[in-house]
Subunit: 282 residues, 2 copies
């Protein structure tokens, strides 16, 4: 596995692959890799000649009071995991390499980032959009694989690719879960003891709303209320939002049609967790 830390090095390698006609599938990550990331790597391997992974804890997507400083970093372990998966190249730039100057470009999809996590993390998706477009332009992958857990992020990236005509195919791979349903996340490392058990309430709450939907409940607000009530039933959890939104526009649905995204964000033991379910109405 090649470990590249500079844009220049990775561009040189990309040009070699261009000449060889070899296709690259990228998995962009912030490191602290878990089984969810590795499932994205395996999905990427099915779709191109080489898998490339980026590890970059992107400062521009963290708010001033968020966990940028304490976000888990374990590059050596990540490197070993990726090597074992047969990843061809790891791009692990410094902040200075990615942002030699404070960025002045504003990139956003306001219609998609006004609600859900965007409403609670101002600037977050601008940071995501900027770093993902930078990574696409630096690494020029033919395919990029993202996790379904970050549904709003994946929707924003698909829109950017579509409207900016970025020459990359975006693949969204299913969320990988622990045995009790908790969506895998690097931030789960912050959870200890009873908080870890309480965290399963997010997925349980979404499943309860999905069951009501399948049983005939079509009112968006009622479905949101079911999610909220379930989260409230867990004393260690504090709801940030519960939402029933359109899968493409992310707009709240008064009445659910044939597809809905049920999404939730909650704090458990001070750790902010998110999860979602895409439900096709029978």
């Amino acid at each position: 596995m090649i470990v590249a830390t500079t844009i220049r090095a990775v561009r040189a390698r990309r040009q070699e692959l261009d000449r060889l006609g070899r296709r690259v599938a990228l998995v962009p990550t912030m490191g602290a890799l878990h089984e969810g990331h590795l499932s994205l790597v395996r999905e990427a391997a099915r779709r191109a000649d080489e898998v490339w992974v980026s590890i970059f804890v992107n400062p521009t997507q963290f708010g001033p009071n968020e966990d940028f400083d304490r976000y888990p970093r374990q590059l050596e372990r990540d490197r070993e995991l990726l090597e074992a998966e047969g990843v061809a190249l790891l791009f692990a730039p410094t902040t200075k390499e990615m942002y030699p100057k404070p960025p002045s470009v504003l990139l956003d999809v306001p219609q998609l980032t006004a609600g859900l996590c965007g409403a609670h993390r101002p600037g977050h998706f601008r940071g995501v959009a900027l770093v993902v477009v930078k990574l696409f332009n630096i690494l020029r992958p033919e395919v990029a694989v993202f996790g379904a857990k970050d549904y709003q992020q994946a929707t924003v990236i698909k829109r950017l690719v579509e409207e900016l005509d970025l020459p990359v195919e975006v693949v969204v791979a299913p969320t990988v879960r622990e045995a009790d349903g908790l969506a895998m996340s690097s931030r789960n490392a912050y959870l200890h003891g009873p908080d870890r058990q309480a965290a399963a309430i997010l997925q349980a709450a979404l499943r309860a709303a999905a069951a009501a939907l399948v049983a005939g409940e079509r009112r968006g607000q009622v479905l949101e209320g079911i999610v909220a009530a379930h989260v409230a039933s867990e004393p260690a959890a504090r709801l940030q939002y519960a939402a029933a939104v359109h899968p493409d526009t992310l707009e709240p649905l008064e009445t659910v049609g044939d597809r809905v995204v049920l999404a939730v964000a909650a704090f458990v033991g001070g750790v902010r967790l998110i999860d979602n379910l895409v439900v096709e109405v029978p």
Copy 2:
């Protein structure tokens, strides 16, 4: 010369060139080509194996009360001019091809677009930024050549390329002028009779300020006043702005250092014209 009207066709051609290792220099235009555009084409020819030109009157960079509908369109004549210059490919997409849906992505460099033309044409540079990034992603040129007449535009594009890590070298080529100093522009076609002669006042006004600068005047506001007074001396002209700004930040300069951009916008006979001079202080 290949004439491509679809993204699919031009991407296929670009992939062929990738395999051949041939480099492309792009000249993005809105058509109605004049000697200024052709000088960009010749500059492009010196910098790559093939010159590609795009002709697209981009609706997203026109305000609701601007001249999108009457902007000059003469594709057949443009095609002949480009053929004669040895251009390898003309990309002339429809609006529907470039914008199958109304765009929702917001791309801007607010620090660079707040003043000068940006202050008088809200949304203009967002439209420019969007279409240029789209064209770069569709055509993937190694080099792109822009005219110095649109100084603010060139500055915005260079910043986008730098911060988004777009793999393209931006070249800014000198403004081509008529015998009386008028900067060549497709909009000059709107000028008739005495208005055409009056239009030379923009360049004359900038030269007067540059002469004062060389003679020792360093106060930005005084230099702006010289430009404004000259434009006011021409009854057919109405000043929109006169500015003395930093060449990189485009911020107004209280005191001019070693470099300054003197920029002017004025209406002559109802036609909005712009011009600028970059002056190195001796």
